[in-house]
């Protein structure tokens, strides 16, 4: 448990980002291509939709990865702040 208030804020934000990443990765949009193939529809418009979907899915997965990276960085910062705070307490208390 964080003792430093800033570290605690970092951990809250990290948790939020990880939750958001989880929701992104669970969205049906990432599986929409499974039922949107040429066996369902075939036309230039359908091709354009599939192409756009592929791009969107790449961006969403990339965004989820970045959210987790940010969360990891926040947690690292929180750990560092907590370590500094613990060292300070030891030095003060002897």
């Amino acid at each position: 448990m964080s003792v430093d208030p800033i570290a605690a804020e970092y951990r809250r934000r990290a948790a939020e980002l990880r939750a958001l990443a989880g929701e992104l990765e669970a969205s049906p949009v990432l599986r929409l291509h499974e039922i949107a193939g040429t066996e369902t529809w075939s036309s230039p418009g359908a091709d354009a939709c599939r192409s756009t979907l592929t791009d969107d899915q790449v961006r969403l997965r990339h965004a989820a990865t970045e959210l987790r990276q940010h969360a990891w960085w926040y947690e690292q910062q929180a750990d560092a702040l907590d370590a500094v705070a613990a060292a300070g307490r030891l030095a003060a208390g002897g």
């Binding site: 980002l17 958001l20 929701e23 929409l32 369902t40 529809w41 036309s43 418009g45 969403l60 940010h70």
Partner: protein, 608 residues
Amino acid sequence: MPGVGYDPQRLQALRAATIAAAESLRVLSSEDPAAWEAVLAARTARDHLEQMWLPLIDRIVGSDVMVTWRRAHLGGALAMSRSGDDTLALAVSLMILRAVGDDALRQAFFVDLGGRDTARLFLELGVPDPYGDVEANRALAALARQELAAATRHPGLPAGFAADLVDGMVAAPGELGRDPTGTLRYLFAGAAYSAEFLVAATKASVRAERAAADVRAFDDPYWPSPMVASSLTVDLEADTDPTDLLLQRLGDDAVAWRALLTDPGAAAYLLGERRSDSAGFGRLVAGAELAAAGPDVTADAPAALRHDAAYVASAFVNHVGSRVDLSSAQPEVSASAATILGHHLFAVHHDVLRPLPLTEPGTMRRALDAFGPDSEVDAPLFDSDALAAVSDLAVDTEDGLATMRAALNGYEQSFAAAAATFSTRVEHQDPDDFLAQAIGELGQLEAYLLRHAGHLTEGAARRRDEAIGRWVDGVFAGLSFGTRQLGAPFPVPGLGPEDVKEQWATHEAAAERRFEDAAREWTEHLRFLWFGELHAAGVVAADLPDEVLTADGKLRPWQELDGTQRRIVRDRMEENAWRGPVDVDWQRLSDTIKLGQQELYLDLPPGQ
């Protein structure tokens, strides 16, 4: 799935999944700056699903045109496009049609597609889909329109195709981007269709307007435009409604106008009910004039053509005569009315002599005694009230009045010539009585039209005086026509038509006397007309010197005679009896003419 198409069940499942995916992205949110990129990616993906995927899926679900045009096989040619998609298939098909230029192939394509799916094809190509290739669709539409027009010209399309096409437009689902009005404008604005196709489309357009009459307020447009117009309309210069545009496209094709206006429903609606701007109504009336009295409506034209022309004349008089907005008609409308009545004066004459109310336009085999028993013709029937209204309209302008006057001059001459000739036939026991009756009948027609010139606005004395003044002017104009056509005599010394018109219009006492002088002179004209025709027919054998006769023994035109010769002719005409094989009592003729024209002098409505 090869080529173009879709699986309806899978597409419905895809639609549901797309909605679920969009909803899952809608709830994603975060205020953390580190999440901004993720939130933006989610919003972008959601926009694509809602604005691109769902509209496209709905378009496909709502339309089977992609499937149906695949049915329009072009032999093996279309197989070339099977590896492509729907638009490519259509493009290849149309390009093959154009390149091959085979009439039968082109006809087969559109016959197989049918009118309704052809309508939907153009509707779909015009949907302004921001993610579609609008320019490519417009190019395809232009190609399809060109091929469709070619198919209508040769070898032609089935009789119901044009009606199905218009019906398909009208029945188009009211979804975003569907624009029947704009699509019809696009279709009919820029291609050379056959006249038969245009007539059939016009009839269908009229039927659609009439069918929607119950759900339309009196001032609603007949063809409302949607919020989002078809992308096919961007280059159109005017937003004319489809029916007006179709009428415009009929141009000066008398056969096409006749085909349209012999449809009782279309004629009643267009001529009697439909609101138009002045230009539109002018075009319609000009078309009716072509159909009823155009250059091809001649005495030796095929009987079917003359019958149709007579029907259009009947429809014109009866429907236009029932309009409540006739008082605002343009001068061109008056001129057309005069031309139609002038061309059918035989029928007008018949109805003047025996007026009848009429509920529906029609024609009937009719004869007038003066023309003899062989003169029966397919004549238009006129409702007496409608004929009176259109007669008022016809003489309401200078051009209309001049047209009527010229037509009347020609008719009077032919009537007099026919009666004079017919009176010589041995079966007539009492030829002078026959002639007196014929002259009286002609006098009634003259009086009827003359009275209508002065009968326009009974309640407005000034206006009425002006109208009579114009007719007086027309009498003199008629004399000049007569000089050319009939050899009509008796110019009034020192009295110009403008003088008479102005003086009569200002109601000077002298003007009334001048007007009576003019009417008397016109009576003289009729007398000269009859005298000349009776002389030509040998009915009277007046003691006329050779110098007043032509080489074949006919009376020379009045204006060719010098003063002495005119006095001689006038003296012969003043004799009480015109002697010859038949003794014609001039006093009886004179009295009959005066009786027929007494309405000039008395304030009686026509026919009393």
